[in-house]
């Protein structure tokens, strides 16, 4: 019952930092054995020769939109997209309707995920009630209900005083604060990065300073309170520098970067394709280079998508009117492999680390490794497999993805959650 | 395009224009109320030459204008790209004048139709007459020339090419055939 042998693969061990030729045997949803030439009776054998066998990938920044915005995405469709993209776990942001600022919503999400989700769903609770930045949410209750972190993602905590209180309180609960850093008064009305391209396109700009001011503030507050701080979707060179300095000082700060921020620049906005409208905005080539350097030297710990689906009707409007966000679950791994691993920015092990153990540590979840006895979440990656991005074939509901038409190389061919195959690329494998 | 025949040389053109000048003066009993308007492009030098002949004969000069009929064409929607529009320069009032329109070739009559509309938009002439160096037939509208240099029967496959010193640096009229 439920016995699976992955044969002939190269196993990536992000903890040991090595790749070894080994078979992986799974039984009862757990990793039972990892070793050479395993022979097991009465088991399903999947030939994964030539492929990379990695711990199941974790996307710690996803908008599943349920409850409240089911037209954009649901837990069922969002986790289907995750499975197809090679992710076995996602952490979903609390900016739903109602906001996940109370145990009931967290419970609802978990229950839904239990019945309809294809992958593990770890809800993130709100920092403040309704994410209004005024009163603290019941953090301990959120934790008890299953929240793995706290964030007011999408609505930066504007007041320094409330953020300080939030960190003091969150530290007590043991939850990490995930901060969407953007000073609202500097970003107000902006539709894209402020620079040459915003000047030429005539769109109101969001200066890099809008992000950096708050990154600096939150680092100072984390240092003062001792609360673990995770900076979401870092987008500027200045933020990378601030985080690097803070880490060197020993501040408990971690950070993530999205595939779109380390691949695209604000030049992608030319033509006013609203799929390029994201928050924080696409920045300059200099910022992209800084993000890559930050990923390479470990300043940026995590790669997360900020998967943000919207309906075509919402996106098919004037650029300034369009909502921010792009879907990323089904293109993330391909972008990591094509844009970071292939050019040598990250080794396969380092790339996998940023998609597995590192986010697992930030969230404090027992995932991200292939140690004997752990839940068998596994992603099999074919580093040679190529495909052209076609949003019309996405499993998720969102079509807002500016990589349409681009060829990506290095894709998931098998996604296994607790020993169960939830995505199989089939003949291409 | 293959050259089929030369139907006029420098002398032929000169003689035809001189004759037309005489006919214009005779028909209008002098040059009193007369004005010439050349249709771009090759009607323009022809009108200037006619005015010069008339001045030589009568000793009085007639005003000369230039008409660009691009904006009056009836085939704009079928062209791949809009043709270049040039200036219309008619530096005299046309109202109550006898206007002699001058063009190099009269063929379907559509250019003349457009030119008539263009002149009407400038005012109300007493009379409009038409002079053409070559009449090659195949009219599609009830229009005829009052003064013709030479009648040349042609087929629709053929092209009549008037080459003038001012524009083409040579002086002759050719019949070409599409290959």
């Amino acid at each position: 019952m439920n016995r699976l042998l992955l044969k002939g693969g190269r196993v990536i061990d992000p903890l040991a930092g090595e790749i070894i030729a080994a078979d992986v045997f799974i039984t009862d949803g757990k990793i039972a054995a990892v070793g050479r030439e395993l022979t097991v009776e009465e088991t399903v054998v999947l030939d994964v020769s030539g492929k990379l066998v990695a711990p199941g990938l974790i996307d710690m920044h996803v908008h599943l939109r349920e409850p409240g915005y089911e037209a954009k995405e649901t837990i069922a469709t969002g986790t289907a997209a995750a499975a197809r993209g090679g992710f076995t776990s996602v952490a979903c942001m609390p900016n739903t309707d109602p906001v996940a600022d109370n145990p009931a919503v967290i419970g609802y999400i978990r229950a839904k995920a239990q019945t309809e989700g294809m992958v593990n769903v770890f809800p993130v609770g709100a920092i403040t009630r309704e994410s209004k930045g005024e009163q603290l949410a019941e953090m301990a209750a959120l934790k008890e209900a299953g929240a793995v972190a706290l964030s007011d993602d999408g609505r930066p905590v504007a007041g320094a005083a409330i953020m300080r209180r939030a960190m003091q309180y969150a530290k007590m609960t043991g939850l990490t604060i995930i901060s969407h850093c953007e000073e609202p008064s500097l970003a107000a009305g902006g539709a894209m990065h402020e620079g040459y391209m915003s000047t030429v396109l005539g769109l109101p700009g969001i200066p890099a300073a809008a992000e950096e001011v708050m990154v600096a503030r939150d680092i100072i507050l984390a240092e003062a309170t001792g609360c673990p701080l995770h900076i979401a979707h870092v987008s500027t060179a200045g933020s990378v520098r601030l985080i690097r300095e803070a880490k060197n000082r020993g501040v408990p700060v971690t950070a993530e970067a999205t595939p779109h921020h380390f691949t695209l620049t604000d030049e992608a906005v030319a033509g006013y394709d609203t799929a390029t409208k994201v928050n924080p905005p696409l920045r300059t080539a200099e910022d992209v280079a800084a993000l890559r350097a930050g990923l390479a030297d470990g300043t940026i710990d995590v790669i997360a998508t900020d998967h943000a689906p919207h309906t075509p009707e919402e996106k098919d409007v004037e650029y300034a009117k369009a909502p921010c966000g792009m879907v990323g679950l089904e293109t993330a791994l391909g972008l990591v492999w094509t844009e970071l691993v292939a050019p040598g920015v990250l080794s396969p092990v380092e790339a996998v680390r940023r998609l597995t153990v590192n986010p697992a540590r930030v969230l404090g979840i027992a995932r991200g490794t292939l140690e004997i006895g752990v839940t068998a979440d596994i992603t099999v990656i074919d580093p040679e497999l190529e495909a052209v991005v076609d949003p019309d074939r996405f499993a998720g509901k969102g079509r807002n993805n500016p990589f349409a038409g681009r060829t990506l190389r290095g894709l998931a061919v098998l996604t296994i959650v607790a020993g169960r195959v939830v995505y199989d690329a089939g003949p291409t494998r | 395009m293959r050259q089929k025949a030369q139907i006029m040389d420098r002398e032929g053109i000169r003689r035809a224009l001189t004759r037309i000048a005489h006919e214009v003066i005779e028909r209008n009993q002098g040059t009193g109320n007369l004005a010439l308007i050349g249709i771009r492009r090759r009607g323009v030098p022809l009108a200037a030459r006619l005015a010069e002949r008339i001045r030589e004969i009568e000793g009085s000069s007639v005003p000369v204008g230039t008409l660009d009929i691009t904006l009056y064409r009836d085939d704009l929607t079928t062209l791949a790209q809009q043709p270049l529009v040039h200036r219309t320069e008619v530096p005299f009032p046309v109202t109550d004048k006898t206007i002699v329109l001058v063009d190099d070739v009269i063929y379907t009559g559509r250019t003349i139709r457009a030119a008539l509309d263009a002149i009407m938009d400038l005012g109300r002439p007493r009379q409009i007459q038409l002079a053409a160096l070559i009449d090659r037939g195949h009219r599609e509208l009830p229009i005829r020339a009052d003064y013709v240099g030479k009648n040349v029967p042609t087929s629709r496959r053929e092209v009549v090419s008037v080459r003038l010193q001012e524009i083409d640096a040579e002086e002759r009229v050719l019949i070409l055939e599409k290959e």
């Binding site: 402020e194 005539g202 | 509309d117």
Partner: protein, 306 residues
């Protein structure tokens, strides 16, 4: 010509020259007693204005009428635009009407480009947010070329709120493409980042910007920018960036003074300069019709309606 006129950034010098050349005979028509030619008979030009603009709208309307096109105007106050009808819906309506040319004014950058992707009709951008206002820049180019006989080698100073000005952007592209040098000057809060990369030079003060300039283009200062904290007040603005006769004397003798209108007299430009002999403000309006006739004519070609 391409299907649409969305901006001058993507246009080449020959393409711009073709519009200016075509505007010359069009101007002759606007001077006639009977200001009408049958060129666009049976064509429909729809003016869609999401922002009030008497000047640009009437200019396009007259241009269309002189060319015998049928014109319809949809303006924000009079149509479903205010009822929250989206640009997309408006586009569908326009298609259903069978418009050949759509003239669009919209407060958001990129709106014209979005419409152009949606409708088969030719789209003319009559101003989209702070992006471009190509017909205004083309009439500026036409006016300067008509008066000075050339564009190549001229020095053009553009003064004022560059940040929010679509006219400034289109003028920068237009003049630099045609070989002129563009200088910019305005409050530091209204100089957009990276603007030097367009080829225009940013000057520290009016004196530097005007020194020997052949053309001075003054931009309208929107008084609500003061509330947004972009400049401290009208008095200081006029003192630092207003064009009076004394400052104008720094420019080349006989330099042309232009303004896209409507003018804040006494703020960005003194009444004496606005009404002086060097002022081209009225010529700009006249030439606007001729230039827009040229644009309508050139965009209406191509048998695409058959």
């Amino acid at each position: 010509m391409k299907k649409d006129l969305l901006g001058l950034q993507q246009m080449t010098a020959p393409e711009i020259a073709r519009i200016l050349d075509t505007a010359v005979p069009m101007k002759e028509i606007t001077g006639r007693q009977i200001k009408k030619v049958p060129t666009l008979r049976g064509r429909t030009v729809v003016n869609v204005f999401y922002e009030p603009s008497t000047r640009t709208r009437t200019s396009f309307e007259l241009a269309a009428k002189y060319l015998s096109a049928d014109t319809v105007s949809i303006s924000a106050s009079a149509s479903s635009v205010v009822k929250g009808e989206s640009l997309k819906d408006t586009a569908r309506t326009i298609c259903a009407m069978g418009a050949d040319v759509v003239v669009l004014r919209h407060p958001m950058a990129g709106a014209a480009e979005m419409l152009a992707r949606t409708v088969p009709a030719a789209v003319i951008n009559a101003g989209d947010g702070a992006h471009e206002h190509p017909s205004q820049a083309l009439l500026d180019l036409f006016t300067v070329r008509e008066k000075t006989g050339r564009l190549d080698g001229l020095t053009v100073a553009v003064i004022g709120d560059i940040l929010h000005s679509r006219v400034a952007r289109s003028d920068i592209w237009g003049f630099t493409t045609m070989g002129a040098t563009v200088r910019l000057c305005g409050p530091a809060t209204m100089i957009p980042p990276g603007i030097e990369a367009t080829g225009a030079a940013v000057c520290r003060n009016m004196e530097q910007a005007l020194d020997g300039a052949d053309v001075v283009i003054m931009l309208r200062i929107q008084l609500e920018r003061q509330q947004q904290g972009l400049f401290p007040g009208v008095r200081e603005y006029a003192r630092l960036f207003g064009l009076d006769e004394k400052r104008l004397a720094l420019a080349r003798p006989g330099a042309l003074v232009m303004h896209p209108g409507p003018v804040n007299r006494g703020v960005e430009i003194s009444p004496a300069v606005a009404d002086g002999v060097q002022s081209m403000i009225n010529e700009q309006v006249t030439n606007g019709v001729a230039v827009r006739m040229a644009i309508l004519y050139l965009l209406s070609g191509g048998g695409k309606n058959e």
